[in-house]
């Protein structure tokens, strides 16, 4: 079971602003998910390695060879705010 405070904590970490109804709904939905996980935890899985990846591949590596970067106008083109040189953002400390 997950409570309202935990939902608000997770929402804050994810920078989400939830309405009261959404908090209500999320509390229910997240609890259902956790219940499901708890159900699985009832199984004896001591000898089973945790699954970190679902594809059976390893060592997909790229040679250390440069590829062209974007022109600056291209990089900045989709930003909501720039000074023509950098991406403008509110100062984190402000």
């Amino acid at each position: 079971m997950i409570d309202r405070d935990q939902v608000l904590h997770v929402a804050r970490l994810a920078r989400l602003r939830l309405t009261d109804e959404e908090v209500e709904r999320m509390t229910g939905e997240l609890s259902t998910i956790l219940d499901h996980i708890e159900k699985i935890s009832e199984l004896d899985l001591d000898d089973v390695a945790p699954t970190s990846h679902v594809v059976a591949m390893e060592n997909v590596l790229r040679p250390d060879e440069p590829r062209p970067s974007l022109p600056r106008e291209g990089a900045l083109g989709q930003a909501p705010d720039t000074d023509g040189v950098g991406f403008r953002v509110p100062s984190p400390g402000a």
Binding site: M57, P63, R67, R88, P90, S91
Partner: protein, 483 residues
């Protein structure tokens, strides 16, 4: 009643610092960790970016093979065991220097773990990507009334290796000394520029104190980004002093991250990135595990050069150098290489003398420069040291010859000849000693009466007459012969 003795006991208690270091090393690969953008060396902001390192939706990272290779080399050089299979995790937090909202790092299964460098154990070595650079714009404008910053993503995605030590360090001086050993080791590996001022080597310190002799650990604080050996030492000393004062006053240390201001020496808490320590790590689904093949391990193993700590040991045991000289030559590989070439060219048993000339006179002459970049040849140095041993040139004159060799090169024997720097000897020296003893008759009387110190007056006269070219021991012998 009762309170005062407790306070006294607190005030008198001796504390022991317990320090662990976390070091970030920017790897000197050509391209970034997960994309083909070239690494940046002062290019115009945001000219080394692509959809991957800008974190645009729909893009996929692909790991740089060379970064893995360098990571394995570092792990092996630090005596770690490479993990048979390691995975990347997402470290989630929001900050403008992190375009994806997470940093790709490693968490519970790092690339390598459990090693040792010098007397400090290594906890782990893992791969990750660097954040972008946040430039505080100041005058360049405000956003919605708040101050604005500008983000430069050139650095974002640069390959990093993070090295975490066990809390084995017991003083600020030891921390700085060990970091020097680590830096010279990484430099020898050729995997990084290891420049602290430019940020390619960055050091954080976890500091706690405990009553001396106790095994439990106190509450630790984290000191961030001390960008020189001196700042590391000063920062740790300041923090240890601050914690001691707190405990002596009966207070408690709070776990926090501190910033050391080198100008004022003050420590101030970093503005807390709200709930920043709740990183919600989970396996990076876009990257498959790294399981080093025997071929990858062998390639890393065979790329390891002789490391400074090993070289110092060899110079001590095989060449008979004293520890300080051996360390100096091993830690400055340019001096060490020059020494080994000169020692190979020597005629007699001059290795120790050559080493002393290098760490003494030569370094005094050329400072931080590489001796291989001067006109001095290792063979000439070996020849010069041999001439000093044979007594054909006096030590003081040999220093002048060395200066000439460094600036102009040439053959030491010819320089001695041309500049008349050869040790005075034979009939010439005998005549000079005769004359000096005649001039210093009073002193000679005193010597005859058993006053050995009076020899100095005769010696001085001989040195003046020969302009320092006489060998002291030979002059002593000639004086005794004539008494």
């Amino acid at each position: 009643m009762g309170a005062a003795p407790v306070a006294d006991a607190l005030a008198e208690r001796a504390y022991e610092p317990v320090i662990g270091l976390e070091i970030h090393v920017q790897l000197s690969t050509r391209t970034k960790m997960f994309c083909g953008c070239e690494l940046s060396f002062g290019e115009q902001p945001n000219t080394r970016t692509c959809p991957v390192c800008l974190g645009l939706p729909g893009t996929l990272p692909v790991t740089n093979a060379e970064a893995v290779h360098f990571g394995l080399m570092i792990g092996m050089a630090l005596g770690c065991e490479p993990a048979p299979r390691s995975i990347f995790h997402r470290k989630n937090y929001f900050y403008p220097d992190l375009p994806k909202g997470y940093q790709i790092s490693q968490y519970d299964i790092p690339l390598a773990r459990d090693g040792r460098l010098g007397d400090i154990r290594i906890h782990r070595v893992h791969l990750e990507e660097d954040a972008a650079k946040l430039v505080h714009a100041g005058a360049s404008g405000r956003i919605h009334g708040a101050e604005a910053s500008a983000v430069d993503f050139n650095r974002g995605g640069t390959p990093l290796v993070e090295i975490v030590t066990e809390p084995d360090v017991r003083s600020a001086a030891q921390a700085a000394e060990w970091l020097r050993l680590l830096r010279v080791t990484l430099r020898q590996l050729g995997v990084s520029d290891v420049n602290m001022e430019e940020g390619s080597l960055r050091c954080d310190a976890n500091v706690s104190i405990r009553p001396a002799g106790e095994a439990t650990l106190g509450t630790k604080t984290e000191l961030k980004n001390m960008n020189s050996f001196r700042f590391l030492e000063r920062g740790v000393n300041a923090e240890v002093a601050r914690q001691e004062e707190l405990l002596r006053e009966g207070g408690a240390v709070t776990q926090e991250t501190l910033h050391f201001d080198p100008r004022t020496g003050a420590l101030s808490p970093l503005r807390s990135k709200e709930e920043a320590h709740d990183y919600r790590y989970f396996p990076e689904p876009d990257l498959v595990p790294i399981a080093p093949t025997e071929e990858m391990l062998e390639r890393a193993r065979s790329a390891l050069p002789e490391l400074p700590a090993q070289r110092a040991e060899r110079l001590e045991s095989d060449m008979g150098l004293v520890p300080d000289t051996a360390r100096l030559l091993a830690f400055r590989s340019d001096l060490g290489d020059f020494f080994e070439r000169a020692a190979a060219a020597r005629v007699g048993d001059d290795s120790k003398a050559i080493a002393n000339w290098i760490v003494g006179e030569l370094v005094a002459n050329i400072g931080d420069a590489d001796p291989a970049d001067t006109k001095l040849e290792p063979e000439s140095l070996a020849a010069l040291v041999g001439m000093v041993r044979e007594g054909t040139v006096a030590g003081s004159a040999a220093k002048d010859v060395l200066t000439t060799l460094v600036a102009e090169g040439g053959d030491p024997a010819e320089i001695v000849e041309a500049e008349n720097l050869g040790a005075a000897g034979g009939d010439e020296l005998a005549r000079v000693v005769d004359q000096a003893m005649a001039d210093q008759a009073d002193a000679v009387e005193k010597i005859r009466a058993g006053n050995d110190k009076a020899t100095g007056a005769v010696m001085g006269a001989v040195m003046r007459a020969t302009e320092g070219r006489a060998d002291g021991a030979e002059v002593q012998r000639l004086i005794r012969e004539r008494l």
